[in-house]
């Protein structure tokens, strides 16, 4: 079809990637392309609604009426937070599993069945949301009962989740075959990360099936009522679990891309693997931060899940935050690239969009998403963040600046190495991560500011001009909203540019012949030739960067506590 699935395979169906050196089988490559392309379609749909939502929240434009806003917001959330991410994540499983292991994809027919089921579910969810009429409510991502949504919506979600399960089965089957044949060998780190992602995904999917089946039965009036408090807890197993899949998949992409285009080496496999195992045990407990203001759960439950157990996952993130830059620094120094404190970093291939997108994802996720995540995961500080636009800022920092930007880098990589196409404009492809990440970072920062500084609520159309029917005015937040509006438009332009480059390159890009991909391989080759062991090289640049991160963390943390302490006085 349009030459999209043509590559030169040997008689055994394998070919060797000139960039990664991986043996890639047709049965793994074609479904990867299919899932990645579908993810791009979801990104397009969600991106269109990003425009309408942002231009409504920027009241200078005030695009939508209140009645339409929630529908558009729901379309934006489901297509970007769920469909764009999960289609891409299934593609990552196929890269991290069969491709990295150099195997065929086991039971490939299930990949096709899974894809068709997921598409059916996604279409049903979109149709259900778009055609929502009273008394049903557009569900947003928090499809809380007893607010009723279209029955088709619940059915669509269930079908989508089942499809994702079916699509993940070939990955598990491939790993099972691998372990049967090589029982004593450990999995490569990227495969191990993909496996962790898949386990967390199963957990999220089970929670999602429980929650949405429960709601569907109630909506179809098969059961008379639902316990809303139990539903919320079930819901967040999926609601936050899906975002944790994003996180772990993103970190797998970080390890993969920093190695194959940046020349990074893993400083300590054991430490990195331990960090993934910490995620496995602790990360879903972070979902409790959505229920920190929920009266139905006890304070002890909330404190344990967020302020104690969740720190196991935070510790894991801090390990990766150190391990990945340290890997880049050690790997590049080993190749004799870049002296001084930061020469290894500044001499890196910054014109390569795969590398720049990955590094921006690491930096922006860490500074904007990670720090705020820990802050709002605390019972006390959560009170100043909950249900304000600061929360929206936080998850735009994690899933947009973190995961989406990393996935954009991966998409560029897939275009060059799986679709074997040149970019239609290499210059624009170099610029795009800068434009998108920079503009989105400022827009995200403004969302945090208007939320935490002014308490501007989320999910409402009007706040700055007036909250209807009240004397309460948030007009002072107007200037920051103006900055937000301008940078949101620039970020959307960056997103459009990505879509044009991705789709344009896949359809019209010049075909790459074997050996023409050398420009994206790391300087000095993928495997460092000679030199000392990676542990002999200084990582002082990474150490300084970590100190900067720690300083930002401490200042932001103290400032938030100070803000909270000013809300009320105890005693005199």
């Amino acid at each position: 079809m349009l030459g999209l699935f043509d590559n030169d395979y040997g008689p055994d169906g394998f070919r060797t990637c000139s960039v990664t050196g991986l043996r890639i089988h047709r049965s793994a490559e074609n479904p990867t392309k299919l899932f990645a392309l579908t993810a791009i379609v979801a990104l397009l749909v969600g991106g269109i609604f990003a425009f309408t939502v942002a231009m409504t929240r920027w009241e200078f434009v005030g695009l939508l009426e209140a009645g339409d806003f929630y529908t558009h917001l729901s379309m934006h959330a489901w297509n970007l937070l769920i469909f764009w991410m999960i289609f891409m994540e299934i593609a990552i499983l196929y890269v991290g599993g069969p491709m990295v292991l150099g195997r065929r994809l086991s039971i490939p027919i299930l990949a096709k069945v899974g894809w068709a089921t997921m598409v059916l579910g996604a279409v049903a969810v979109n149709y259900g949301i778009w055609t929502t009429t009273a008394p049903n409510e557009a569900p947003l991502l928090t499809a809380y009962v007893p607010n009723p949504s279209e029955p088709l919506f619940y059915a669509g979600v269930i079908v989508f989740l089942l499809g994702a399960t079916v699509a993940a089965l070939p990955f598990f089957a491939t790993l099972w075959v691998e372990k049967r044949e090589n029982a004593g060998q450990t999995l490569p780190l990227v495969t191990f990360a993909a496996f962790t992602t898949a386990v967390i995904a199963v957990e999220a999917i089970l929670g999602g099936l429980a929650a949405f089946s429960y709601a569907f039965l109630w909506r179809m009036e098969i059961i008379a009522s639902v316990d809303a408090a139990i539903y919320r807890q079930l819901y967040w197993i999926a609601g936050h679990g899906t975002q944790q899949i994003n996180l772990v998949a993103m970190i797998a992409v970080w390890y993969f891309l920093t190695h194959v285009v940046g020349g990074a080496e893993v400083v300590s496999e054991k430490v990195s693997r331990t960090a993934f195992i910490l995620y496995l045990f602790f990360i879903n407990l972070g979902a409790a931060h959505h229920l920190l203001s929920d009266p139905a759960v006890s304070t002890g439950w909330r404190i344990f899940n967020t302020s104690y157990a969740f720190y196991g996952a935070t510790f894991a993130s801090l390990i990766h935050a150190f391990a990945i830059p340290a890997g880049i620094e050690a790997g590049r120094r080993r190749r004799g690239l870049g002296g001084g404190l930061f020469g290894w970093l500044t001499g890196a291939p910054w014109r390569n969009p795969m590398f720049s997108a990955t590094i921006f994802s690491i930096i922006l996720f860490g500074f904007l998403g990670g720090i705020t995540g820990v802050i709002m995961g605390q019972l006390q500080l959560n009170m100043t963040w909950h249900n304000t636009l600061a929360t929206v800022g936080h998850f735009h920092a994690t899933v947009v600046l973190g995961t989406t930007v990393a996935f954009m880098g991966l998409t560029y990589f897939v275009i060059r190495t799986l679709f074997m196409r040149q970019f239609i404009s290499p210059k624009l492809a170099s610029v795009q991560p800068y434009l998108y990440s920079g503009a989105m970072a400022i827009a995200t920062l403004m969302l945090m500011y208007v939320g935490i500084l002014y308490g501007v609520p989320r999910r409402t159309t009007e706040v700055v001009e007036n909250i209807p029917g009240t004397e309460f005015s948030l007009s002072a937040a107007g200037p920051l909203f103006s900055v937000f509006g301008v940078f949101a438009l620039l970020a959307i332009a960056g997103g459009v540019l990505f879509l044009v480059l991705a789709v344009g390159s896949v359809l019209f890009g010049k075909r790459i012949e074997p050996g023409d991909n050398d420009d994206i391989t790391p300087d000095g080759g993928l495997a460092a030739d000679g030199g000392e062991s990676v542990h002999h090289y200084e990582m002082r640049g990474t150490f300084v960067l970590c100190l900067v991160f720690l300083t930002a963390f401490v200042i932001t943390y103290l400032l938030n506590w100070y803000l909270l302490s000013q809300l009320w006085k105890i005693g005199l």
């Binding site: 008394p135 007893p146 009723p148 109630w218 404190l341 308490g455 309460f472 002072a476």
Partner: protein, 236 residues
């Protein structure tokens, strides 16, 4: 402590300071495209942070006047940081190689100092006489009463046989009330005190309950408040 120990501590400390200062200088003058971008974006974010955080602290501690200078520093840095590292510094470095005229050579030699002096002067001036865009306003969360009235009455509904009777605790600030059920318009109430009756049979059934929505609107038709109520179905 022996002399040798104190001397080695001193030499370590002075060596550390010298290396740090050299590192800072090398970062300041680093002029590759990616260094320019990283420094500019870093200072842009740092400027935003200093500006907003100091404004916030000022709203709680107006007597801490040094915060005006921090706010001014952040506010100026948002523009001056990128300007310096994307435009001025590369220009100065280029001039050092190419300048022939004595004046341009002086500018090339003293350019960085000149730039820093102008920046610090701007910070000082803005700190002493802050302009309004520099100061975020945190004091107007509640209007002085000249804005729209606070419309938030209680809606009480009782069911008497086939009729649902509703009343509002306070009709002020409302122009009219619209009652809908599902997609069906049930009635519009135009006269205060906006009490109304609706027939249970006119309401749509949702999940075993009759449901209706009451919207309080102003003279422009904008919604001020929205209430959703459910009524048990017949026979319950």
């Amino acid at each position: 402590m022996t002399d040798r120990t104190s001397s080695s501590v001193y030499s370590f400390a002075s060596g550390l300071c010298r290396r740090t200062w050299n590192d800072v200088l090398s970062v300041y003058y680093a002029n590759t495209p990616i260094w320019r971008v990283l420094k500019s974006v870093g200072l842009l974010f740092f400027g935003f942070f200093c500006w907003s955080a100091s404004n916030l602290l000022l709203s709680y501690r107006p007597s801490w006047s040094f915060l005006y200078f921090v706010a001014a520093y952040g506010f100026a840095l948002i523009v001056w940081g990128p300007l310096t590292h994307l435009a001025l510094l590369p220009w100065v470095i280029r001039l050092r190689r190419t300048a022939n005229h004595p004046l341009t050579r002086t500018v090339a030699r003293k350019g960085s100092m000149l730039n820093l002096s102008i920046f610090l002067t701007i910070v000082l001036v803005l700190g002493i006489a802050p302009i309004s865009p520099m100061l975020l306003d945190f004091g107007t969360l509640v209007d002085d009463g000249t804005g729209s009235p606070d419309v938030d009455p209680d809606l009480e509904c009782t069911v008497v046989d086939e009729l649902v009777e509703c009343s509002l605790s306070d009709p002020s600030g409302i122009d009219h009330v619209v009652v809908t059920s599902g997609e069906v318009h049930v009635k519009t109430v135009e006269e205060p005190p906006y009490d109304f009756e609706i027939r249970r049979s006119n309401l749509e059934t949702v999940l075993g309950q009759k449901q209706f929505t009451v919207e309080l609107r102003d003279e422009d038709g904008a919604t001020l408040r929205r209430y959703k109520r459910t009524v048990p179905t017949d026979g319950e």
